[in-house]
C-alpha cells in the first residue's frame, strides 16, 4: 500500500552534511518532496518533507532515519472535509482505516467524524471530488 506522510526531521549537528535524504530516495525507493529546509552549518538541521512510497519502504526508511540519529516528528495535521465539495458519494467509507466515515442508511448522507481520524491521509486522494483537505 502506498502511503504519503508529512514529517519533520531534526538532524543533529553531526548529521547535517550527510546525504541522508539521498539514501531515503535511493535505498528505500521513497519519493520526497521537501517542503521546508533550514540547514545551518554547525547547528541542528530541520526539514519538513512529504514522503511517499510503499508502507513497508516507508517503515524501513523511518527505521533507518531513527538509527542514524535523526529525530522524526509527525507534523501536526488536521484532515477536514470541505462540505461544499463533498458529494456524499461514499467512496471514502471503505478506504478509511479508522471508520471515520459513516453512511446514514436513512438519508444516504456520509458523516465524517474528525475525532476518529488519525490523519493517515488515505482519503485525501481517494475522494473523487477531492473534498478531504489537509490543514496545518
Amino acid at each position: 500500500m502506498i502511503v504519503s506522510k508529512k514529517i519533520v526531521l531534526h538532524f543533529p549537528v553531526r548529521l547535517v552534511d550527510r546525504s541522508i535524504v539521498y539514501h531515503l530516495i535511493k535505498d528505500y525507493d521513497l519519493e520526497l518532496n521537501i517542503m521546508k529546509a533550514s540547514i545551518i552549518p554547525d547547528a541542528e538541521g530541520l526539514m519538513v518533507i512529504e514522503v511517499r512510497g510503499e508502507q513497508t519502504n516507508y517503515d524501513k526508511g523511518v527505521k533507518y532515519l531513527t538509527e542514524t540519529g535523526v529525530r522524526i516528528q509527525s507534523l501536526a495535521q488536521n484532515v477536514m472535509r470541505n462540505d461544499d465539495k463533498c458529494t456524499h458519494c461514499g467512496a471514502c467509507v471503505t478506504v478509511c482505516p479508522t471508520k471515520a466515515f459513516k453512511l446514514d442508511l436513512e438519508t444516504r448522507l456520509i458523516s465524517f467524524d474528525a475525532s476518529k481520524c488519525i490523519a493517515c491521509g488515505l482519503c485525501l486522494k481517494a475522494c473523487p471530488p477531492r473534498a478531504m483537505e489537509l490543514h496545518f
Binding site: 500500500m1 502506498i2 519519493e31 511517499r52 458529494t87 456524499h88 458519494c89 461514499g90 467512496a91 471514502c92 467509507v93 471503505t94 478506504v95 453512511l103 442508511l105 438519508t107 444516504r108 448522507l109 486522494k125 481517494a126 473523487p128 471530488p129 477531492r130
Partner: protein
C-alpha cells in the same frame, strides 16, 4: 388506462400534474395498487449523480484578429489537451483529457488532480480558462499562436455532449488479487477487501424504463443542473443484455447520449473528478422524467433496489483480460446496506455515485414540472430496444499487413 404526453402537458401547464419521484412511487403503488396509481400519477422523476467518463463539451470561441485556424493545430485549456479537429474556432474537450505534462501513472498510482472534467466544471462555474493554441497558418487564417483567457459568457455556443451516460445497471467491482488496485471503480483493496458500485438503483433513469418505452431521441431531461435532451442512444448501448423476470437487466445494458446548453448548467451538478490511479473524469447529474402513459409503464417505475441485481466482477484479472465471469450476483438493496456476503466473507461496500444527490435531482425535476417550468417532449424516435437485436461487440483486432 392510457394517457398521452399531450394530455400530461396540458395538466402541467395548468399546474395540476401529479409528479412524484421514483422512490415515492414505490410506496404509492403499494398502497393504491398499480391501476389506481397509474391513473393518479402523471410523471415519475428519476435521477443519478455519478462519474461518467464518456462526457465532454464543445464550444465556439469566436474569431480572433487576425484570424487563427484551430483545426489541425493544437489547443490547450488550462494546459489540458483539447481536440482541435473541427474548423477554425470550434473546440472539443473530453472529461478524461489531461495536461501533456501530467505524470499520469508514472508515479503510481497517479493522482489526476486536474483534467478535462475539471476544465468543464471551471468553465461552467464562470471561471476564466487559459486557452493556448498553436496553428500552422494559412492565407486566410495567418495567425500561428494564440494565448488568451476565455470565459463561458463570451463563447458563441457552449454545449455539453456526452456520448455515453446513465448506464442502465453496472458491475459491482471487487479485487481478488493480493495487492491494492486503482480502477475507474475506485480503490479496490486486496483479497475482496471491498466492493464498489455506481448507480442510483431504483432512482436510476433507465432502470425505471427498462424497455425504453418512453425515453428516446429528443426526450427533455435535467442535465448538469440545466435542461438537456437525449441525443441518441449511448455508445455501447446493449439492450440485449440478460434480464430478470421484471425486465430489469442483470448486466450493464442500455446507455444514453445526452446533449444540452452548457451555459445554463451549474457546476454543482458537473463536478471534475479524480479517480486515483485511473484518471480525471466528470461527475454528471442527470434526471429523466417518465410519463405514466400506461399501467405497464407505471409498473416499471415501481422497481426497487431489491429487484435490481448487479454482477460482482473481479477487476484485478477478469475485467482487464476480458474474461466474462460473474463471481456473484447481489441486489442493490444489499449493496446499499454497507456490506454483502461473498463466499462466506462479509465484504464492505461503497458507492461512487451519490444517492442523496440523485434524490435532489429527481425532486428538482419534480418541482420544475409541478411549477409548469418544464414540459415533457414526445421523443422523435425511441432508443433501440430488445427487438433491435443490438449488442455490444468486443474489438475485432486484426494485424495490419506490412
Amino acid at each position: 388506462m392510457s394517457k398521452t404526453i399531450e394530455e400530461i402537458n396540458k395538466k402541467i401547464k395548468k399546474g395540476e400534474a401529479v409528479v412524484v419521484n421514483a422512490e415515492e412511487i414505490i410506496e404509492i403503488a403499494r398502497e393504491k395498487g398499480i391501476k389506481k396509481a397509474a391513473r393518479d400519477v402523471d410523471v415519475v422523476t428519476t435521477g443519478t449523480f455519478g462519474p461518467m467518463c464518456s462526457s465532454g463539451a464543445y464550444f465556439n470561441i469566436g474569431h480572433s484578429n487576425p484570424r487563427i485556424k484551430l483545426g489541425g493545430g493544437k489547443a490547450y485549456l488550462n494546459d489540458v489537451n483539447a481536440y482541435a479537429g473541427f474548423a477554425a474556432t470550434d473546440l472539443l474537450i473530453g472529461a478524461n483529457a489531461l495536461p501533456d505534462d501530467d505524470p499520469r501513472n508514472k508515479i503510481y498510482p497517479g493522482e489526476f488532480n486536474y483534467g478535462g472534467g475539471h476544465v468543464i466544471e471551471d468553465l461552467v462555474a464562470g471561471k476564466d480558462i487559459r486557452l493556448s493554441v498553436t496553428a500552422y497558418g494559412t492565407d486566410c487564417y495567418p495567425r500561428k499562436k494564440l494565448e488568451t483567457l476565455i470565459n463561458i459568457k463570451d463563447l458563441n455556443e457552449a454545449v455539453l455532449f456526452n456520448p455515453r451516460n446513465a448506464y442502465q445497471n453496472y458491475n459491482a467491482a471487487i479485487n481478488m488479487s493480493s495487492k491494492v488496485i486503482y480502477t475507474y471503480m475506485g480503490i479496490l483493496k486486496p483479497n475482496m477487501g471491498n466492493i464498489n458500485f455506481s448507480t442510483s438503483g431504483q432512482l436510476s433513469p433507465l432502470l425505471n424504463d427498462p424497455y425504453y418505452r418512453t425515453i428516446g431521441i429528443g426526450t427533455k431531461i435535467f442535465l448538469g443542473g440545466g435542461i438537456g435532451y437525449v441525443a441518441w442512444n449511448g455508445t455501447q448501448h446493449n439492450p440485449s443484455a440478460p434480464r430478470n423476470e421484471k425486465g430489469v437487466p442483470t448486466r450493464g445494458s442500455g446507455t444514453l447520449a445526452l446533449i444540452g446548453d452548457l451555459k445554463q448548467m451549474n457546476s454543482y451538478w458537473l463536478r471534475g473528478t479524480s479517480m486515483m490511479g485511473y484518471g480525471a473524469t466528470l461527475t454528471v447529474g442527470v434526471g429523466i422524467p417518465i410519463p405514466i402513459l400506461s399501467e405497464e409503464i407505471l409498473e416499471y417505475t415501481t422497481v426497487t433496489d431489491a429487484d435490481i441485481v448487479a454482477p460482482v466482477v473481479d477487476y484485478s484479472s477478469d475485467y482487464p483480460n476480458m474474461v466474462s465471469n460473474t463471481l456473484a450476483e447481489v441486489s442493490y438493496a444489499d449493496l446499499k446496506s454497507g456490506k454483502v456476503e461473498i463466499d462466506g466473507k462479509q465484504v464492505p461496500t461503497a458507492s461512487l455515485s451519490s444517492y442523496s444527490r440523485a434524490i435532489i435531482i429527481a425532486d428538482t425535476l419534480k418541482d420544475w414540472i409541478k411549477n409548469g417550468r418544464f414540459l415533457l417532449t414526445e421523443p422523435a424516435e425511441l432508443i433501440p430496444g430488445i427487438e433491435s437485436g443490438l449488442n455490444t461487440k468486443p474489438m475485432n483486432e486484426r494485424p495490419i499487413p506490412d
